[in-house]
Symmetry: D2
Subunit: 122 residues, 4 copies
Amino acid sequence: MTDIITVTGVVGTDPKHHVTNGGLAITTFRLASTRRVFDREKATWEDGETNWYTVSAFRQLATNASLSIRKGERLIIRGRLRLRAWETGERSGTAVEIEADSIGHDLAWCVSTYAKVRPTRP
Amino acid sequence: MTDIITVTGVVGTDPKHHVTNGGLAITTFRLASTRRVFDREKATWEDGETNWYTVSAFRQLATNASLSIRKGERLIIRGRLRLRAWETGERSGTAVEIEADSIGHDLAWCVSTYAKVRPTRP
Amino acid sequence: MTDIITVTGVVGTDPKHHVTNGGLAITTFRLASTRRVFDREKATWEDGETNWYTVSAFRQLATNASLSIRKGERLIIRGRLRLRAWETGERSGTAVEIEADSIGHDLAWCVSTYAKVRPTRP
Amino acid sequence: MTDIITVTGVVGTDPKHHVTNGGLAITTFRLASTRRVFDREKATWEDGETNWYTVSAFRQLATNASLSIRKGERLIIRGRLRLRAWETGERSGTAVEIEADSIGHDLAWCVSTYAKVRPTRP
């Protein structure tokens, strides 16, 4: 059960969808999750720091996410956090990825319609 | 941060929506979350036990949830778990409630369209 | 991944430990998790509502929990939430249980010593 | 509630403890959380990938963690995930930090004793 996380945030890039030679559907996009901080002096909630994640979805979730999600929309996502060290020549870093097992449009910010088939999008 | 939970499941009742005299919008519905269990002999995933929750949403999330959610749809929900002892005459029990801070249609099971305004639903 | 929860709270009963005929070690106890609420007028944190859970542990975790935990101590617990309807004659209700996969003494409230063998407790 | 995570894992470095000029106690250490993966062919659980985190604790939790935790011990930790981009000359990367609000020795792997005062450690 370790390393499971739920985040809410804004989609930062249109989803990329592809299917591997083996037939596995994969969708990836970037998500920005911004912490809300209560400012005691002003007695208001303010935007705090932002965490950026790469979100990956597989199989049916990948297909549905690709059909449903656009840049700028607000989501709720649950999945497993994966931290991977990478190095390419003289640069190195840590890739921060959420392997999603569930994704939804966040109804705190929008209305959404549910369909078993592909919706007509303008 | 204690008692925060994320669940996925099926809406068991059409949402009830009302607005208090003070102007607070509230939406409630029942959600069934069924555990998936791996059967080693059959080497397949099977349905396990089901947890039933009463989900409550407030303010804008309540309004949007009421406009968007119907019985039978699959959701992802994050919120605070509240357990409340109740007693009415000779019966007593524990009410299990999630005060949602985020709700979305679960894209593992559907496609959804995102809109800032009320969608046209048949 | 659904229905996984992390709670912090106070142990309300000394743990009960037993071993089934089949050799499975089981430990159970009650835990009270009290929400902290920020009172804006007083500008202080106050105790809010309390959730009561029955916590169950199995196998090695059960044995270690039984040796380590006493009523009144503060814990952090992660596990799967299980809600079970029960009925005995004229009474019925919902049992709220956490099947723990990890338990620790909460260092926000105490110091603790770690040992691979049974500690000497007065 | 966003970006809250619970992890279990092994302490990779002895905790560093210091107190700022302003009197704030801070403790930091590294934690390795290794995913367990079920190998269907062998029908056994195997170690999968490892996530490395920098864990930070503040105030009383920092003091108690510093007194209680040693490299190699197993912990359960809950806190807020913080991802921070950094750059020093020609190198850049992402720092992955958990700001802990609760830490405990994981009783799935050890026994522990709870004390309100500093324990005697050899």
